[in-house]
């Protein structure tokens, strides 16, 4: 009897906030502890820190870059490329995904070609893009757009294919027009999958911006990486990597926060990640 009571209490308590501690604090435990331990080992002279600089050294480098205004230039350049590349890739991905998802003719016509293009490693396009678009921004943006396009396209097309036909039939039974059906049934139905697709597209955007900047740029976080390698400054490389980690996590978080009001109806289980 008392057993069943405790179980009931426990299941009731789990979805609630865990006693005041914000959940992101848990996420910080591992990296912060690791950094602190390494710093300690470095201070005690236990590690040779020439190739893997101590966290304090990385922080110092970051601060120096920030003070001189360099860091904001690099971050702005990288974010600008991602914004344009991801914007272009995501918009075309959503449009073509909706098209092939909702029309069998369009799917038969377009999907095989797009799948074949997807099989090409995106980096293989680089020489062609440089020949066509030059070595400056357009070729970089094109590469990022290609990288972002495929996960978004596949996600949107798949989400339309997965719409429950029984629910669409409810719309028909209530005599919704084609536009009303799209707005009141299809759009909300594909929204969760589409948001996941956009998030993975953005993740790939960060991957390809690094590739683009490593291959030739005079500014951007990727340029900082190459520069750090050529000048033997591992602290600068790690500073740049740290920026990527923070920016990537932050931009993903922005998508999650911005779309949360649209997805409150989903199971709290899916939301609690």
């Amino acid at each position: 009897m008392s057993d069943t009571q405790t179980i009931a209490v426990a299941t009731q308590a789990t979805p609630r906030k865990q006693r005041g501690v914000p959940s992101f604090v848990y996420g910080l435990i591992l990296p912060v502890t690791a950094a602190a331990l390494y710093e300690l080992a470095f201070r005690m002279g236990m590690v040779e820190a020439r190739l893997l600089p101590a966290p304090s050294r990385i922080a110092e480098t970051l601060l120096k870059l920030a003070r001189s205004g360099e860091l904001s230039v690099h971050i702005a350049a990288t974010l600008m490329r991602i914004a344009f590349g991801f914007g272009l890739g995501a918009v075309t991905g959503v449009l073509l995904g909706v098209l092939t998802g909702s029309s069998i003719t369009a799917r038969r016509l377009l999907d095989p070609t797009l799948q074949a293009l997807r099989a090409i490693p995106s980096l293989a396009w680089v020489p062609l893009f440089i020949l066509w678009l030059g070595i400056f921004e357009p070729s970089k943006i094109a590469l990022i757009a290609v990288g972002c396009f495929f996960p978004v396209y596949l996600g949107v097309m798949g989400s339309i294919a997965n719409i429950d036909r029984k629910i669409v039939e409810v719309g028909r039974a209530f005599r919704l027009s084609r536009t009303a059906l799209a707005r009141r049934i299809l759009l909300p139905a594909i929204l969760p999958d589409t948001i996941v697709a956009l998030r993975s597209g953005l993740g790939l955007g960060f991957m390809f911006v690094v590739a683009a900047e490593i291959m030739g740029a005079s500014e951007g976080l990727g340029y900082l990486l190459v520069d750090g390698q050529q000048l033997g400054k591992p602290d600068q490389i790690l500073a740049s990597i740290l920026c990527f980690a923070v920016l990537g996590k932050l931009s993903d978080w922005i998508i999650v926060i911005a779309t949360r009001p649209l997805l409150t109806w989903q199971d709290s289980f899916a939301r609690s990640e």
Partner: protein, 260 residues
């Protein structure tokens, strides 16, 4: 009022689901369609709803032919089919989008009250039990005040206790506006509990086998002798419909599809 005239339905694969089905239903009548699996009872309901089209024959409501889903006809499916991204209240008000928000809200709250779900309006469908979800689904079809309400085995997925209570809820809701009610079921008890007329269909191809008038007064006592007798009559007809060989009623030429 609701007239099904000489309905035939042959699917693209050649399967004949319905063969010359004619049924006339009075306004406010409760008709249950009973039959074994494959007798075309769900197909018949979908033809009436306008979601599917007959191969030949017509469906009409008050003389108006039905070709597509029609405002006078409401439909409740076997599963609740609530939209998961809408709250319970928004789901019920789904067919009321043309009304002012205040009026819609009043209708919805009034409806929830009638089925014992007052205060559930702000919940999400995933928070409801099967029986609650089906009640919401019935309200969604009824708030638009259709002249005809079609129900496709609406309680078949529920346990016996919940089913009984939902049948009572349904009768109470029906009593408010007295729509014509056509309900498909394979449950003889359900047919006896609800029907003014229990129409038994025979399978392969689907035809009307028996049309049984149930004269029991409401509310019906499910333990009474008369109720048991009604169940027995329907059960007998159902047995007969299943053992009946698929004979052609009038012309031998029409059985070409069933020679094997």
């Amino acid at each position: 009022m609701l007239r099904l005239a000489h309905l035939n339905k042959v699917y693209a694969n050649g399967a004949c689901a319905l063969d010359d089905v004619t049924i006339d239903i009075e306004a406010g009548e409760i008709v249950t369609l009973v039959g074994g699996s494959g007798c075309g009872k769900t197909t018949l309901l979908r033809l009436v709803s306008g979601l599917e089209h007959p191969t030949s024959g017509t469906v009409s409501v008050d003389g108006e032919a039905i070709f597509a889903p029609h405002p006078a006809i409401g439909m409740v499916f076997q599963e609740a089919r609530l939209l998961p991204w809408l709250t319970v209240a928004q789901n019920i008000g789904f067919g009321l989008a043309h009304l002012p928000a205040g009026e819609c809200k009043d209708l919805v709250e009034d409806a929830l009250l009638k089925v014992g779900l007052a205060g559930y309006g702000t919940r999400w469908p995933r928070e409801l039990s099967g029986g609650q979800a089906q009640r919401v689904s019935i309200l969604r079809a009824l708030v638009t005040k259709p002249k005809v309400l079609l129900m496709d085995e609406p309680f078949s997925a529920l346990d016996a206790l919940t089913r009984g209570s939902l049948q009572d809820h349904l009768l109470a809701l029906w009593d408010a506006h007295r729509p014509t009610l056509v309900l498909v079921t394979h449950d003889v008890e359900e047919a006896a509990a609800l029907a003014d007329r229990a129409i038994v269909l025979q399978p392969r191809p689907g035809r009307v086998f028996a049309d049984i008038r149930v004269e029991l007064p409401r509310p019906r006592d499910r333990l009474s002798q008369d109720f048991a007798e009604t169940k027995r009559i329907i059960m007998n007809a159902l047995d007969g419909s299943l053992s009946q060989p698929a004979l052609s009623k009038n012309n031998a030429g029409a059985t070409a599809g069933s020679w094997w």
